[in-house]
């Protein structure tokens, strides 16, 4: 039956489901639609037997390639569909029609971009991801979320503009519109690279992520965590694989969020920093660019989307029930939400790369590639970052939410649909960890790698257990910075405080300038009026009695000049 399906992009049913969901007021029918969209997309994904480019639409003298199914888009497409389906289950309790619609249109846009075969189709879906996802931030309905959404929108639309500009330069300078290998040396290459870098949250361009995701809704943060940044990693893998600068950018990305996450009180913001850290591993893999490294980036993206969604889901459940995810206000929630706590622990252990869980079989590919290619400093940073992952996502998230000191908050367990979504995600983490061959089978290149060796298991367990010991020891000695209500400055300070202050100061200066200018203008107008009055008023100079003889002489002179000019001209 699947073979009988037309070869059209899986983005289509998801986007259509989103648009239809936005029109259906009936809660039950709408929720069925939100589940059906990703399921139809999955059927379309499985319908392709032979890799190729399908769904070509000719319009305005251009061929839009909407469904390029190859080794790279295949794995990204599949995990996007899985994420969209999990999100729909997780959001079943939610009655916000607009959010249902935007979540699906956003997921569909992500799928559309992944399957795009040309740069214009990519641009269309690239911008659609921004425009559709901002409603997930605004849906919170607070002034803070509104402002964060605006900032998010500006930054992402800028990314799209850069992509379009770079693409036009690239295509009209001898390149093509194909969304393929581009490289930094190509005309427009840097613009496209920057466009991808903004969405990928490169260092110094990263803070839109921590600014917006924690301010989105319970469901919104889960949805947002899956698509935008991983789409950017995919785009980098497609167009800039083997670009050396990515290795160093990625290494920085893995390391710096570790420090910010330690002192962050908002646990969803901790997860946002953790996202940066994880993206760093993928970016390093893309930068190295070997088959092993690209497999590492793809495998990491696949497992990361699932366990990161699981972690966001668990914190979303806490936010839904308790009303806050501030570590300083939480603790002891395992007594009220034991199943959520267990799922969170599975997600935490997966992201920390404990054996038998998905992170263990994926992250090691990138580390092995870095070491094999002789990038030993980068490799060392990645090992440091692995210990850092354990700190913020492996320990901090579950410990301060569900254990630590008992906050005394007694709430209900998460709704059944949330538990179901978390349960499926947790099962996937375990399944992939135990049977990695199924993941390896869909990686872009053939895999010749065995994750479960004695050396790898012992080395990884040494790292994780020693890091856990460090945590326990630092807590016992009172050296772990206590969680307390605060925020931390990051690069968003540049535009939220410095830039905002500059704009306010500029407006104030402009106001004063206008006022001063207006004053001078009034004075000048007044003086001019006085002059005119002095000349033309009844008491003015022109009204004085002038001897008629003088006027006759002047009139004769003027007449003479006119006659002379007329004569010379004739």
């Amino acid at each position: 039956m699947i073979d009988a399906l037309p070869l059209i992009t899986p983005a289509l049913p998801v986007i259509l489901a989103g648009l239809i969901a936005g029109l259906i007021p009936n809660y039950s029918v709408r929720k069925v639609v939100t589940l059906l969209g990703p399921l139809v997309a999955a059927a379309l994904w499985f319908a392709v037997d032979i890799p190729g480019t399908y769904g070509v639409i000719a319009a305005a003298g251009f061929e839009f390639e909407t469904f390029r199914f190859d080794a790279l888009s295949r794995i990204w497409g599949l995990v996007f569909i899985i994420a969209a389906f999990l999100n729909s289950i997780y959001g079943l309790h939610d009655r916000d029609r607009m959010q249902d619609a935007s979540a699906l249109v956003y997921a569909g846009a992500g799928l559309g971009a992944v399957f795009a075969g040309d740069l214009l189709t990519l641009f269309f879906f690239w911008e659609l991801t921004a425009l559709s996802s901002v409603f997930l931030i605004w849906a919170t309905g607070t002034p803070a979320s509104f402002r964060a959404g605006l900032r998010y929108l500006v930054i992402h639309v800028l990314s799209g503009v850069l992509l379009l500009g770079g693409s036009v330069i690239y295509a009209t300078s001898g390149g093509s519109w194909e969304f393929g290998a581009i490289g930094l040396d190509a005309p427009g290459g840097w613009l496209i690279f920057l466009a991808f870098g903004i969405k990928c949250a490169f260092p110094l361009l990263h803070n839109w992520l921590q600014d917006s995701y924690p301010k989105s809704t319970v469901v919104g943060a889960v949805v947002l965590s899956a698509f935008t940044t991983k789409l950017a990693v995919y785009a980098l893998a497609r167009s800039f694989a083997g670009t050396e600068i990515l290795i160093y950018l990625g290494a920085v990305m893995t390391a710096f969020p570790v420090f910010f996450a330690v002192i962050e009180n908002d646990l969803r913001k901790v997860l946002a920093y953790s996202l940066n850290n994880q993206l760093g591993f993928m970016v390093v893999g893309v930068g190295i660019g070997t088959e092993l490294a690209l497999n590492g980036a793809a495998a990491h993206a696949f497992v990361h989307i699932i366990y990161k969604a699981l972690l966001f889901m668990s914190m979303g459940a806490v936010l839904y029930r308790v009303g806050t995810v501030k570590a300083s206000e939480l603790g002891g929630l395992f007594k009220s939400m034991p199943f959520t706590a267990i799922f969170c622990l599975i997600g935490a252990a997966s992201i920390s790369a404990f054996p038998l869980l998905s992170g263990f079989v994926a992250k090691s590919l990138t580390l092995a590639a870095a070491a094999q290619e002789g990038h030993w400093v980068v490799w060392l940073i990645l090992v440091f970052a692995s210990a850092g992952v354990l700190e913020h996502s492996g320990i901090k998230i579950p410990y301060f939410a569900f254990f630590a000191h008992d906050s005394g908050k007694r709430v209900k367990e998460a709704p059944a649909n949330m538990l179901l979504a978390m349960g499926i995600a947790a099962t996937l983490c375990i399944t992939i960890g135990i049977w990695p061959q199924y993941l390896y089978a869909i990686l872009p290149y053939a895999v010749d790698y065995q994750p479960y060796t004695f050396d790898h298991i012992v080395g990884q367990m040494q790292l994780l257990l020693a890091a856990m010991f460090a945590f326990a020891l630092l807590m016992r000695l009172g050296l772990y910075p206590a969680e307390r209500p605060s925020i931390n400055l990051d690069t968003d300070w540049l535009y939220r405080r410095l830039g905002d202050g500059f704009v306010r100061w500029s407006w104030a200066m402009l106001d004063r300038l206008m006022a001063a200018g207006g004053h001078q203008l009034t004075k000048a107008r007044h003086k001019l009026g006085e002059r005119f009055f002095a000349v033309f008023s009844p008491a003015g100079a022109l009204s004085r009695d002038i001897p008629s003889g003088v006027l006759a002489i002047w009139t004769s002179v003027l007449l003479g000049i006119v006659l002379l000019v007329a004569y010379l001209a004739g």
Binding site: H93, V262, V458
Partner: protein, 110 residues
Amino acid sequence: MTDTPKPKSKARGGTTAASDAIHPAARYFLWLESPAVKAGFLFAIGIASIGLGALDFIHHRHEYVSWAEWHGFYAWFGFASFAFAVLMGWPLRALLGRKEDYYEKAAGDD
């Protein structure tokens, strides 16, 4: 109607009727809060770390990077990395930490 609690609003589901109610499934794990268990965890994990590091003395690990083959490399590097990241939190918070209403004052944000 969205599912995210608005500011100063009650969370969905709220607290349970009996404020001290504990989920039935969680009752089997209340021993986790025992001080003895917490202290035992510290020692157990310390011993496990040393044990895993000591394994390197009887089994030579093969690594792509030669100095990762040093005895107990991952154990001491993991410990040092974790401790460094956490301890850096003190100066970093002093440098970058602000009150929660820091941006609110300027733009009604957060």
